[in-house]
Amino acid sequence: MAGGADHGRMERWCWGAGSVVVIVYALIPVAWILSLSLKRSADLGDNRLFPQVVSLEHYAAVFRDPQFSAALWNSLGIAGISTLVAVLLGMFAAYAVVRLEFPGRRVILAAALSIAMFPPVSIIGPLFNIWRTVGLYDTWAGLILPYITFTLPLAIWILSAFFREIPWDLDKAARVDGATPLKAFVFVIAPLAAPAVFTAAILVFMFAWNDFLFAISLTSTNDARTVPAAIAFFTGSSRFQQPTGSIAAASVVVTLPIIIVVLIFQRRIVAGLTAGAVKG
């Protein structure tokens, strides 16, 4: 018995130690950026993890810069709209793929996946030319479109895997209870799929929010430039100064929304919501 308890404590200790290692490994760069963003300009090169004096001068500078506020607004709008559209389209597509018998439904899933595999960098050149011709260059739509294209397959996959788990009988019951197919979807299936919807939403949002490639290639002004691209255009206060502090502060600022979004949605990602639908 005592041996068993020892064993259990040992195991817990190993898990704990392992978790700490992983967390430290993942968070050191973040901590470093945070530390840089809080140092005074003069201390940036002092090779210390903890700032000698905590100063918010870089944050103040970043928010004084109209370029950054514009980029923040662009990022929020573009990522938000992309998420909304991709998840909505993904829901309808996944539902159709799972619930309807039509020729080529398997092909659709495979094709969707192959789009997700497609290296974005290979279409950047042509896209740049096309967007300039059709007037989408340096617009919100010009970024939203490729973001939806590249995240929709993932959304469809996540959602269709989840829809498959929702008992068919619930659709049927709703139809017999007097619902149109759309109402059955809205009132019964969609609420049950909420955890998957939030998962898909987080992933789409992160893709759009973090994207640098499309943002740097397809924008040129504050009209549509998002934060990751805008940070690359930061300059120091004189041309002999590196904008290290401002970049660090801006990075911290743009990381916050992601953390908040994940924390909010994580609470909603509760598995087992369908428990009790069937006999159980």
């Binding site: 008992p167 019951a173 139809r175 017999v176 007097g178 619902a179 919501l273 369908t274 009790g276 069937v278």
Partner: protein, 263 residues
Amino acid sequence: MSEIELRKVSKRFTGATAVKRANFTIRDGEFFILVGPSGCGKSTLLNMIVGLEDVSEGEIRIDGQRVNELDPKDRNMAMVFQSYALYPHMSVRENMAFPLKLAKLSNPEIDRRVARAAQILELDEYLDRRPRALSGGQRQRVAMGRAIVREPRAFLLDEPLSNLDAKLRVQMRTEIARLHNRLGTTTVYVTHDQTEAMTLGDRIAVLRKGEVLQIGTPRELYERPRNLFVAGFIGSPAMNFLPARRAEGRRTTPNGGGPGKVR
């Protein structure tokens, strides 16, 4: 209240025929049973009546009106599924109110009907629980409740008791019979259990491999089965079969068993 008429109704899935020329009428207010072994097409037949499956051939009429092309939502029938199919994200109250909300009834009317159904089914205490916090028998009752609040033209039940343990099954069987007596609504009840069929039904249709073999009251099926399959399927303990020969208007069995009149 309604009469359900099937006119040579067939259902073909790719490859197989699930229902072959079913041709019978379920009378107004009747408790009608579809019984047969698993896979004989009972559920398919029920789903065609309620509109969840298209009819491949033939015609279904409800009160004389052809309904083949009618969407389930426009047939005003209520169905109880084997899995109960309760909406897991809704409370018992919301589950029962759902069809009424879709029918756009006023809130007081919805409350009144839900309360009445809850009272009939003794669910008052559980109205605010989610289905997962209920026992099997209670879930079954909620499914019944969701059906009766509608005051539908017909109840369709697809093996409603087969997920319950034996004792509860007998109890719920009585309750369903009581409910039918009280409401008098046309009921079509699918089961593979001949005991349920014999004890509940006004009339029974015995199916095998998509074919309706015989339709009759429990007594008719028991006393005058039309073929060996029906004879063997109905009755508990099962009927004994003896090979026999017919000679001179009498029948004899090889072991010389008692002679009797040939029917």
